[in-house]
């Protein structure tokens, strides 16, 4: 086990009753690396993510995060350990404004001896929000307006900016642009690039081949609950990846017994 791995799974397996949703997944993510997870619906992508983020409890296998084996009891523990997840369903509070959402649960405060009644430092949170979002090229006329009135792209940017602002050890995005238009997708991709520049590792679950080829270093393909390919971006192309997704090809080292 080398020190430059931020996340490793060994033999990670999840069964739902008799359904083998995830089978013996061996996965490695280096520090600063951006990996895409691709695969058909039901291939096990989301199941894989749910085991890592503690949303579900794995059947078997090991997860080693930041050099230590981990057993997250829930998503909150994973988050406290430094894994930030942008879920398909956005975890935002509609009635709060942008800084409030960004800092929800970890507000900047003054007079901390007041306990639950400590005073919010609105100014500091606003400035940090402006600084954080300014890099992303997202356009929001007024960050003090409530999230309710914002477009899908703006909301998604706020959700992602939350992870970017807090310099997590690992960011996981599950289909962050599935519901967005062209311009909004570009904004989200901008944020992903800023994460790359900051050297923060990322797991991106996506169906969008162009986006994947644009953004990540490596592509891991899932099929029927198994990892079937681990491809460096430079050594592959869209056609190749599709071949792995559809089952036309399987890398030899991932072959099941007797099946190639």
């Amino acid at each position: 086990m080398s020190d430059d791995l931020i996340l490793e799974t060994r033999g990670l397996t999840k069964h739902y009753g008799g359904v083998h949703a995830l089978e013996n997944a061996n996965f490695k993510l280096r520090r600063g690396e951006h990996i895409a997870i691709m695969g058909d619906n039901g291939a096990g992508k989301s199941t894989f993510v749910r085991q890592i983020t503690g949303v579900e409890t794995r059947t078997r296998g090991e997860i080693i995060f930041d050099g230590k084996p981990v057993h997250f009891e829930g998503p909150l523990e994973a988050r406290q350990a430094g894994i930030e997840t942008v879920f398909q369903t956005l975890a935002l509070c509609d009635d709060l404004d942008v800084p409030d959402n960004l800092f929800l649960g970890r507000e900047k405060t003054k007079f901390d001896w007041l306990g639950p009644f400590r005073i919010l430092d609105y100014k500091a949170m606003r400035e940090a929000t402006m600084a954080g979002l300014e890099r992303t090229a997202v356009k929001i006329p007024n960050i003090r307006g409530s999230i309710r009135n914002m477009s899908g792209g703006q909301r998604q940017c706020v959700a992602i900016a939350r992870t970017a602002t807090f310099h997590s050890k690992l960011t996981i995005m599950d289909e962050p642009t599935a519901a967005l238009g062209v311009q909004e997708t570009a904004q989200v991709e901008n944020i992903v690039r800023t994460l790359k520049e900051a050297g923060e590792p990322l797991i991106l679950v996506s169906h969008n081949m162009r986006q994947v080829m644009d953004l990540v270093d490596r592509i891991v393909v899932f099929r029927r609950g198994r990892i079937v390919a681990d491809l460096a971006k430079e050594e592959t192309d869209g056609q190749d990846v599709v071949a792995y997704i559809t089952g036309a090809k399987t890398q030899p080292e991932f072959a099941e017994d007797g099946v190639l």
Binding site: P75, L76, R79, Q80, L90, A91, L92, C93, D94, D95, L96, D100, L104, G105, R106, E107, T109, L114, P116, F117, R118, I119, L120, Y122, R126, M130, L133, E134, A137, V138, K139, I140, P141, N142, I143, R144, R148, N149
Partner: protein, 361 residues
């Protein structure tokens, strides 16, 4: 440049003039409109003989033409329920509801009064003391602390039930509604408790209820706007799952909010029993509903996440003006109840309509 804010991102700025006014402004306009309507009715209705509701032109006492006597009554009659509605507002913003506050007022008043007994009534030993002579002329802090502790306990039970068993707040507090009404009747087997000490009687004498109401409204308004406590209350009411995922201790926070709400109701009981110089088991009837109505009229959304203490205070004023106005135009009590009910329903319908329009935009 004063009209522009620097709170835009990506080269966009935004014109402060274009912002729709806050919800509280609508409530204020409604308040003014209602006053004008009653003024007009005073002029138009044939049996009113051109009376004015707010102005008193004949006797310009206190250097003002305002009818201060009526204005004082309007504020005084909403102050005590207003204190309750401050707590109820937080509970509704949290996404819950508290039906137990009215009966809690009854129960807390009975208990508080028992600890606020004076020794001598007209030169004779207090004939109606609940406890023995040890309870006579206790320091005024004693009944206050007992009352607040009782409120805290009820609130803690409400909050724990809602946080840990997951039953709807409506059911939990409806149960507590009956339990508290039971406690208030069991305490003295239905006998009223009277004869408080002078110190205790001072808490709610004269315009003191208004002073308490305004003081508490300011404190709670600051709490909701500027502290983590307030922010988390709005967050949980807005999206409980998101709040939990963000690391907010949702269960603990719910317990705290229900506890503070019940303590406010208990404090209202202290002020009310002090003002009336007596406590009766039936006190606080319908208070929980009036308190909810004040919040709703003030723009607090029953879906949680939206509303403010300022709104509720204005809502309380609207409530008081309507009640007083009905009396002013000599509307019978049963019509008053019917009209009040219609107004509450109207306020919620209006709020839903506004919300839908805001979402569509």
């Amino acid at each position: 440049m004063a009209d522009q804010t620097s709170h835009g991102i990506g080269g966009l700025t935004y014109d402060r003039k274009k912002r729709g006014w806050p919800n509280e402004a609508n409530v204020f306009i409604a308040l003014v409109a209602i006053i004008l309507i009653f003024e007009l009715l005073g002029q138009v209705l044939p049996y009113m003989n051109n009376q004015s509701m707010l102005f008193d032109f004949n006797e310009a006492r206190d250097g003002t033409i305002l009818n201060m006597a009526r204005i004082k009554i309007v504020i005084l009659q909403v102050a005590i329920i207003g204190i309750i509605s401050l707590g109820v507002t937080q509970v509704i913003i949290l996404g819950g509801i508290d039906l137990s506050s009215g009966p809690l007022v009854g129960a807390a008043a009975m208990i508080v009064m028992s600890f606020a007994q004076t020794e001598l009534v007209n030169g004779q030993l207090n004939p109606k003391a609940v406890f023995g002579p040890w309870s006579f002329d206790l320091p005024v802090l004693a009944p206050i602390l007992v009352g607040l502790a009782f409120g805290a306990m009820i609130g803690l039970i409400n909050g724990s039930l809602i946080a840990f068993t997951g039953i709807p707040p409506f059911i939990a507090t409806l149960g507590m509604f009956l339990i508290c009404r039971g406690i208030s009747q069991w305490w003295t087997k239905g006998q009223p408790v009277s004869f408080p000490s002078d110190q205790f009687a001072a808490i709610g004498s004269g315009m003191m209820p208004v002073v308490w109401f305004i003081l508490l409204a300011i404190v709670l308004s600051l709490l909701m706007k500027y502290t983590v406590y307030g922010k988390h209350t709005y967050a949980i009411g807005s999206n409980e799952d998101a709040a939990r995922m963000s690391g907010i201790n949702v269960k603990g926070h719910k317990m705290m909010v229900y506890m503070i709400a019940s303590m406010l109701a208990a404090f209202a009981a202290i002020v009310l029993s002090s003002k009336n110089l007596t406590a009766q088991a039936g006190m606080g009837q319908f208070y929980e509903l009036y308190a909810i109505a004040m919040a709703v009229i003030g723009g607090v959304s029953l879906r949680g996440g939206r509303g403010s203490i300022v709104g509720t205070v204005l809502g309380a004023m609207v409530f008081g003006v309507i009640q007083s106005g009905f009396t002013f135009i000599k509307l019978d009590a049963f019509y008053q109840l019917m009209a009040m009910g219609s107004i509450i329903i109207g306020a919620v319908v209006l709020d839903q309509y506004r919300q839908r329009r805001a979402t569509l935009r």
